[in-house]
Amino acid sequence: MSAMIIDAFSWALLMAGSLLMVVGALGLIRMPDFYTRMHAAGITDTLGADLILLGLMVQAGFSLVTVKLLLIGAFLFFTSPTSTHAIANAALTAGLKPQVGGADAEDGAAEKEDE
């Protein structure tokens, strides 16, 4: 019985994580400019990945695997904000202005940076 509850809990976490991943991906496509897209992508790295890791930890129970998953979580905790910072910084240095207001000028600038 308790095994089933744990399983259900872990699946709920996994599904939530996956859902956030999809949302993030959707945002990446739908958002109008580079910075907002990064904002959307942030979800996948942080909450999405963390929830999935958590779900997996619940699956694994108290074992070496959980420790490894924790380490992966810690690694992501450091790296994803840093890489986001680096990317945003590079974009700003390269002279890409955040798009403020109207959505007409869509993509022009953002496309260029993507390449």
């Binding site: 690694f75 450091f78 840093t82 910072h85 680096a86 590079a90 240095t93 993507d114 390449e115």
Partner: protein, 330 residues
């Protein structure tokens, strides 16, 4: 359809889409990132196909080192592919015929996952059955890689050594004196500096874990070498090439490249002294298992040494080039 084949098919379809996008896109930056994605996806598929060691390597190499090298190349060359001008009929026909030939060849193949296929019933069973008693380590892949087919691995180290020497020959002579201007350092970024400092230690530790844990789990000299080099490359990226060169000069790296191959080749030579054939590690220890263990440990270390040194020296060679584009283009 089982969950197994569902995962399998999904990953394959994703791979197909990625490959197609790479074909169509002309923005090379995107192409390189997608090729990195392609490698990561195939690493996922490899895990699913039980090839954990291979997946590890593919992730480290395809999604890691190859991508870094390609990005460096793009920085030095151009970031947009010209629209194709010539007709594409002949390549298409050649490729189509080749593909059809292969599909024709699949018709008599054993089906996917079939345990009665010849592959699983001739040479391989010995590895699975005898590794425990003859080599004495759980990771069969490491045992086959370093001992049963150890000579292939010596060849592999020689290949990577060749590449290292080749890149040095091609680009080494052109390395400019580091000016501190051309090679962008990022150490004025507080965030990057701090995080890099925090991370390099654990990454190096992880590399050592992968290196010496290869007997028991996925890992080994090659993966460890790549990870070790990655830590170093991060350092060079953030703190500048000159600082990295100060820590480990290019000439020292070049020596290390050679040392790994020498170590591997040398371990093999020891067998001669005991009247055994080349690369027979059993003579190294009191018992066969002990000897094999020590031998594998040593040659894996040789592999790790050469691989990491080659990666670092290759990175030095690429990063030391004078980029024809200005820093602002980045």
């Amino acid at each position: 359809m089982s969950v197994e084949s569902f995962i399998d098919i999904t990953l394959l379809v994703f791979l197909g889409l990625t490959a197609f996008a790479i074909l169509k896109l002309r923005a090379l930056f995107a192409v390189v990132m997608l090729s990195s994605v392609f490698s990561l996806l195939s690493a996922g598929l490899l895990v699913h196909l039980d090839a954990v060691d291979v997946a590890f390597t593919e992730a480290a190499v395809g999604a890691g080192i190859s991508t870094v090298l390609m990005l460096a190349t793009l920085a030095l060359t151009s970031r947009r592919e010209k629209a194709p001008t010539r007709t594409q009929a002949l390549p298409l026909i050649v490729v189509f015929l080749t593909g059809m030939a292969l599909v024709y060849g699949t018709l008599d193949m054993p089906r996917f996952g079939d345990a009665s296929a010849p592959v699983h019933n001739h040479v391989a069973p010995k590895y699975i059955n005898d590794t425990a008693s003859e080599i004495g380590m759980p990771n069969i892949v490491t045992a086959v890689l370093a001992s049963y087919r150890g000579f292939d691995t010596l060849g592999e180290v020689t290949v990577i050594f060749t590449a290292g020497i080749g890149v040095l020959l091609l680009l080494g002579a052109y390395i400019r004196e580091p000016t501190g201007l051309r090679v962008q350092t990022m150490d004025h970024h507080l965030v990057l500096r701090v995080v890099t400092k925090v991370l390099i230690g654990p990454i190096l530790l992880f590399a050592l874990y992968v290196q010496f844990h290869g007997d028991y789990g996925p890992g080994g000299g090659f993966q460890a070498g790549v990870i070790f080099a990655a830590a170093f490359i991060i350092y060079a990226l953030v703190f500048g090439l000159e600082n990295a060169r100060k820590a480990v000069p290019g000439s020292a790296v070049r020596m290390l490249v050679a040392c790994g191959v020498l170590l591997y080749g040398g371990v093999g030579v020891v067998s001669f002294a005991f009247g055994q054939n080349y690369l027979n590690y059993s003579v190294l220890g009191a018992s066969q298992v002990a000897g094999q263990h020590l031998g594998i440990l040593l040659v894996e270390f040789g592999v790790g040494l050469t691989v990491s040194a080659v990666m670092v020296s290759t990175f030095y060679a690429f990063a030391g080039q004078n980029p024809p584009i200005s820093d602002e283009d980045w």
